[in-house]
């Protein structure tokens, strides 16, 4: 009897809980998904419609056509510019991953008590505006900037011959992008290293592995998902970047993102071609994300 009572009371308790689950889960999931649909998928669909001339800026007659896509895919200029941007983004991403890894490694594994203070210092630049951080580099890299003034002071350069390729160049774009995105790279690597099971390192040591071998066989493979995530965090946004190139890039730092902006606004409005460029970029990024996502699965550590 007592058992039966307990059973019926637990059923009573379950009923309202299940009801609440049914209502809350769709609501909780529905809101962000609706947000994503309305502010992400629908705008992309509209941009895609512009690329096929289904929508047009010109009030004249228009309809579905693949002309802009055909012109784009047969244009050596746009594809070359895209490739230039890909190369630049790949270089920036690879360099800062290599630079950020030791930093994240030190923060996560050195056992320093100040690691969270150091982490805070690392992300401190985020407290200022993105634009301000980019513009600050103009003060540093310009003809009369900090670097050149130092060179004049040391006598390595004369004021008549400053190092002028520091600013308005591809180098300037890469440097500033690297600086801006470094914390984004360090953080995922830091997280993956910090969650590493230290006992695995101890086991490796007990089994006779040197520190380098333990790093190569244990630490590095287990932190790879963080490294890949970090790489993607930089590569994807820098591929479509246009603010930094327009501020410090000059003629040689002009990138694919700048072309999209110009086609939509500052040039004679050509939203059809602009949309093609934007959708193409989106497609490439989506494919790359899927490919890289495979590497995000934690790898097993297998002893030989």
């Amino acid at each position: 009897m007592a058992i039966a009572d307990a059973g019926s009371s637990s059923q009573r308790a379950l009923r309202p809980r299940r009801l609440r689950l049914d209502l809350t889960t769709p609501t909780l999931l529905g809101l962000p998904l609706a947000w994503l649909g309305v502010f992400f998928l629908v705008p992309i669909a509209i941009v895609a419609a512009y690329s096929f001339d289904v929508y047009s800026l010109d009030p004249g007659p228009h309809g579905f056509t693949l002309t802009a896509w055909h012109d784009f895919l047969h244009s050596s200029v746009y594809l070359a510019l895209f490739w230039k941007s890909v190369k630049l983004s790949l270089t920036v991403s690879a360099i800062i991953v290599v630079l950020a890894y030791p930093l994240a490694y030190y923060l996560a594994l050195s056992g320093t008590k100040r690691k969270y203070i150091l982490l805070l210092l690392l992300i401190a630049p985020f407290l200022t505006s993105y634009l301000l951080r980019v513009l600050a580099w103009k003060v540093i890299l310009g003809n009369q900037g900090v670097v050149n003034t130092f060179l004049f002071w040391t006598g390595l350069r004369s004021p008549d011959h400053p190092l002028s390729q520091l600013l308005y160049s591809r180098f300037a774009v890469m440097l500033v992008l690297g600086y801006i995105w470094l914390p984004f790279v360090a953080l995922p690597i830091f997280v993956s290293l910090e969650s590493l099971d230290r006992r695995l390192l101890e086991a490796a040591s007990d089994l006779g592995a040197s520190r380098l071998q333990a790093f190569r066989r244990v630490t590095l493979p287990l932190s790879l998902p963080g490294v890949v995530a970090a790489f993607l965090f930089v590569f994807i946004p820098t591929l479509g970047e246009f603010v930094t190139p327009s501020l410090v890039g000059g003629t040689s730092g002009y990138l694919y993102g700048n072309q999209i902006v110009d086609l939509f606004g500052t040039g004679f409005p050509d939203w059809e071609t602009g949309s093609v460029l934007a959708i193409f970029l989106l497609g490439v990024v989506a494919v790359l994300t899927v490919v890289f996502a495979r590497f995000l699965q934690p790898r097993q550590v297998v002893a030989d």
């Binding site: 998928l41 310009g142 003629t251 700048n258 110009d262 004679f268 409005p269």
Partner: protein, 369 residues
């Protein structure tokens, strides 16, 4: 049993989301333009303020003296500004739903906008200062006998260079393509660069280049782009680069010369192929709800006092022939005493480019190359 229930619940959630996404998407796709227009109408009607689409520096960000007379007469209808980067930007904004009462393209765009159906002619009788405006510029603002553009500010596209660093071989647009000054040259981010290239190459109609001529102009620009440090799109961008010594030679406007000569040894050179003259043209949007206020605003801009202020402070000319600057240098540089300063034989008055979209695409290709 539990698994089956779970599956059913998941399916129903997915279906629900699909329906919600589809409904949201459809309603957005179907009604986006109308809804945006209705919202903008409501905002405009509610404010009752004159809506002006103008260039940076001509609104409440420094140009207040130009329309002070209007504000004094209409304190309850002060102008509200939206800024345009250039005419293309204005066109994109208007197409996207912005509804200004008036805006300011330059003379080369008068025909384009007049034909576009986006604008309506002015009534010059409502502009008391109209009779003082330069007749050549007034004529340039007409299309099919109607006054679509009211001329106001004007100036030249010419070459600004540092006289302590640069020694031109000739007074020519060729200075923008001079190999000796690699990395010290700034071009302007506009399809007009193809027109300039056409002028330099000696084409008789740079605004109406044939396909072959356009290819030659584009080839010239592409082949000389490696000399160019900066393609500027805002004057502050140019001033910063020129002022700090990054750039010594630039495609520039009179105001750039006025600003740079304050601290550098500079020359504003009129090339032998002649400079290109531009004239700002106020245009009235079709269907504006505030046509009288728009006329009053343009009348304020057209006053001689406003003109003098513009010349003194911005270094641009003004269409009011009674306006005279305090500086004799400027008077000479802009040839302000000559009513034909902006037209032949002194300069090429900028004009309509019938194949503007093609020019634009070719200029974008130059930048992307």
């Amino acid at each position: 049993m539990d698994k089956q229930e779970d599956m059913e619940r998941r399916l129903s959630r997915e279906q629900l989301l699909k329906v919600a996404a589809a409904a949201g998407g459809a309603s957005l796709l179907g009604g986006r333009v109308d809804a945006a227009h209705a919202a903008l109408d409501w905002l405009n009607a509610d404010s009752g303020r004159l809506q002006v689409l103008d260039w940076a520096g001509y609104g409440n960000d420094g140009g207040q003296a130009m329309f002070a007379q209007y504000v004094k007469a209409h304190p309850k209808n002060k102008p509200q500004f939206t800024y345009m980067g250039n005419e293309s930007d204005a066109l994109a904004k208007i197409h996207a739903g912005l509804k200004p009462d008036l805006f300011r393209p330059y003379v080369g765009w008068v025909k384009y906008f007049a034909k576009s159906g986006l604008v309506q002619p002015w009534d010059p009788k409502q502009i008391s200062n109209f009779k003082h405006l330069n007749p050549f510029m007034v004529k340039a603002g007409q299309y099919k006998g109607k006054q679509y553009g009211i001329p106001d500010d004007w100036g030249f596209d010419a070459i600004l260079y540092r006289s302590d660093k640069v020694h031109p071989k000739a007074r020519s647009w060729g200075l923008l393509f001079d190999e000796r000054y690699k990395g010290r040259i700034a071009w302007f981010d506009d399809l007009n660069m193809l027109t300039i290239a056409g002028l330099y190459l000696g084409f008789d109609k740079p605004w109406r280049q044939t396909d072959a001529q356009l290819k030659k102009s584009q080839k010239l620009l592409k082949s000389k782009k490696h000399l160019v440090r900066l393609i500027w799109s805002s004057e502050t961008n140019l001033w910063e680069a020129f002022g700090s010594g990054e750039v010594w030679i630039a495609y520039a406007w009179p105001n750039d010369w006025v600003q740079m000569k304050k601290k550098l040894k500079v020359v504003y050179m009129r090339p032998r192929e002649k400079p290109v003259a531009w004239v700002g043209m106020f245009m009235l949007l079709k269907g504006t709800k505030r046509p009288h206020l728009a006329h009053a605003y343009v009348n304020a801009w057209s006053a001689a006092r406003s003109g003098k202020w513009l010349e003194d402070n911005y270094g641009y000319g003004h269409a009011n022939t009674l306006a005279r600057p305090s500086s004799s240098d400027l008077l000479k540089a802009l040839r302000l005493t000559d009513p034909r300063a902006v037209t032949e034989p002194n300069a090429h008055l900028d004009r309509d480019i019938p194949r503007r979209a093609l020019y634009a695409r070719m200029w974008e290709e130059v930048k992307a190359s």
